[in-house]
Symmetry: C2
Subunit: 208 residues, 2 copies
């Protein structure tokens, strides 16, 4: 989530976009069949990645910024650009990306986020992703949110301890997502797309 030689992370003060090296690196990833994942990447660098990549790209885990204001979430124009290129966004269960004002979110917030993004970018471009961090505590988050800095974490740590949404406490609750989507009115075919087939199709295209 910091800057690196390829571009800027989403927690950086400024984001100039993909560096020259970043463009070459991404084109080499395209050539080798490596999926470009913009989940932790800054806005301008992400826009550049969509522009310069010859293959679809993903946000494997991230939500809509217009619904939930968090630096890890993505503006709608970026979500649209990724979808226009054939990419997939993995709607994410991690509570701070799912609901503002604290960590309390539940299964209905997750379904609402999926629903918002499906309406925005289409049924073929939304997946689900957990970002579960079971067993990881403060030390882990301090480490990944501090990076190279000597100043400590670059994000307010008040989201700790992570309490997964009610109804989505762990991987064993995945059938609840399927049930909630069906109950919300999605056809079985669409539920299959959201819960796996969209990402599988993307992997097939990029990895081949």
């Amino acid at each position: 989530m910091e800057g690196n030689l390829a571009g800027s992370g989403c927690l950086e003060r400024v984001d100039g976009g993909l560096t020259d090296y970043g463009i070459e690196m991404m084109q080499e990833m395209n050539r080798l069949g490596i999926l470009v994942d913009l989940s932790h990447v800054g806005y301008q660098t992400s826009r550049d990645a969509v522009q310069f990549s010859s293959k679809p790209v993903a946000v494997t885990h991230g939500n809509s910024l217009s619904r939930v204001n968090h630096k890890r979430n993505k503006p709608d124009d970026l979500l649209k650009a990724i979808a226009d290129k054939g990419g997939v966004i993995g709607a994410t269960i991690f509570p701070p990306f799912l609901k503002e004002g604290g960590v309390k979110a539940d299964l209905s917030d997750f379904v609402a986020m999926i629903d918002y993004m499906v309406n925005l970018i289409g049924i073929d471009h939304v997946g689900v992703e957990t970002d579960f961090t079971e067993g990881y505590g403060r030390e882990f988050f301090v480490k990944i949110l501090t990076g190279n800095s000597k100043r400590g974490p670059k994000m307010d740590m008040s989201f700790l301890p992570v309490a997964n949404p009610k109804g989505l406490e762990s991987a064993r609750d995945f059938p609840n997502v399927t049930a909630a989507l069906l109950e919300h009115g999605y056809a079985e075919r669409d539920v299959r797309k959201i819960t796996g087939e969209n990402f599988l199709a993307l992997f097939r295209e990029v990895w081949q």
Copy 2:
């Protein structure tokens, strides 16, 4: 002249400014008494460096962009900002930075560049620097202008082979600079500043 973890080089496609890590690195350089040299740095990253550094910074070798349009030269507002902070610009003999439209430059072009910068930012903020590359040929320049790229040099190589300005072919010609500045009308005191004392004063302040 490429981007790195601290910020953007002057040959980069885009320049977002100092990264978060770059700010911390520069402040650590300030603490340790290491001079920040913006010679190969991009414009916005340089402006940020001037803003965030607690000590004067330098362009040890570089000229005015408004006089000679070259990516290694610096816009006048940047030169002024560096001077306002107590920094020094080393006017540079390297021919492509000294005269447009080819490599033919002479001692009078160097004096004219010094004179322009002295009038712009004051007698206390201009020094002289050679960027002499005697003994280095095409291979060297290809290497430093290619960096991490697999595409080859990021700069038009038509400036090769480097022909140092007439009257400034090598280090033994330095007395010619002194003579030319005196002849141009500079007082001896000012010639001493330009040819050494300004940089010495900067080093004393930053290195202490």
